[in-house]
Symmetry: C2
Subunit: 152 residues, 2 copies
DNA sequence: CTTGAAAAGAACTGCCT
DNA sequence: AGGCAGTTCTTTTCAAG
């Protein structure tokens, strides 16, 4: 954890809404000069709090209309099988996120596909053949809302 | 879906790695002039394919060491109870993502907390008291890997 | 911390192929 | 479509209060 003051939090909150804002605009919104806002952003980057910027892409417009969450239980657990599983799952292009979790499942995957037939292909030929896979449970995404979270 | 050519895909792939790259740098990498690369990016934004840029924040450095995924089954389903649930869940600051899904669960939530005692507080006082909540299942995040996905 | 200023670079525009 | 040249803006750094 890093110690941030209120201005750092306000800066991050503003940037989280729109990461394209200039240091000058942020400073104006918070009563800071452009160099002051800029120095704070640099410091947050140097501290590793702010790790960069990512694109927000519209999967549907890119032709990926189906998003499915998979909960996976491994049949065989152990250090080697975790590594085998992770290596194999990383090679599937349709997998957007791999989450190693503790609980009912061992892994949770976010998978995108063009449509349901395409998803079935991915599931049967790529997911079910992963090393060590036991039970697989699926949830199809209907809609999602991303929120800022308690940051700030 | 939008029709993109290979250059658009290459542009998005490069930007997905680092969204701070300038149009000039992208153009040089792809054999385009700065205005040509810039015009393509503008067009992708206008078409809604590229919906903006978000920050990559380090939750741990911000003091949120615990991330938990919750699978929630509603006890009472129906249009009204879905809306009630969504409105109430949106008011919980610790909830980072609300996913409405089809399958074993009705909703999946990504929740962050400072530590496990803090998570227990959120779970007991905010999640379990949500309107219409039935079963709740939890998975604690150990590690995650985000991949580009099949975009491009 | 601030203001002011200067240099570099990126974004944007118009015109031409 | 793409390139070139030019203008405007932001970013980035520095000096000084």
């Amino acid at each position: 954890m890093t110690d941030l003051d209120d201005l750092d939090r306000a800066l991050l909150r503003a940037l989280a809404q729109d990461a394209t804002q200039s240091a000058g605009a942020l400073g104006r919104a918070l009563g800071l000069s452009q160099p002051a806002a800029w120095r704070r952003i640099r410091k947050l980057e140097a501290a590793g709090v702010l790790r960069g910027r990512r694109l927000r892409l519209n999967a549907e417009k890119l032709g990926f209309g189906v998003t499915v969450f998979l909960g996976i239980k491994l049949a065989t657990k152990g250090r080697v099988s975790l590594e085998d599983f992770e290596r194999a799952v990383s090679a599937i292009p349709e997998v957007q996120r791999v989450e190693h979790v503790l609980g009912l499942y061992d892994y949770r995957l976010r998978v995108v596909a063009r449509d349901l037939p395409d998803f079935e292909r991915v599931l049967r030929r790529r997911i079910m053949t992963l090393p060590g896979v036991g039970e697989v449970e699926a949830n199809v995404l209907l809609s999602e809302e991303r929120r800022l979270g308690p940051i700030g």
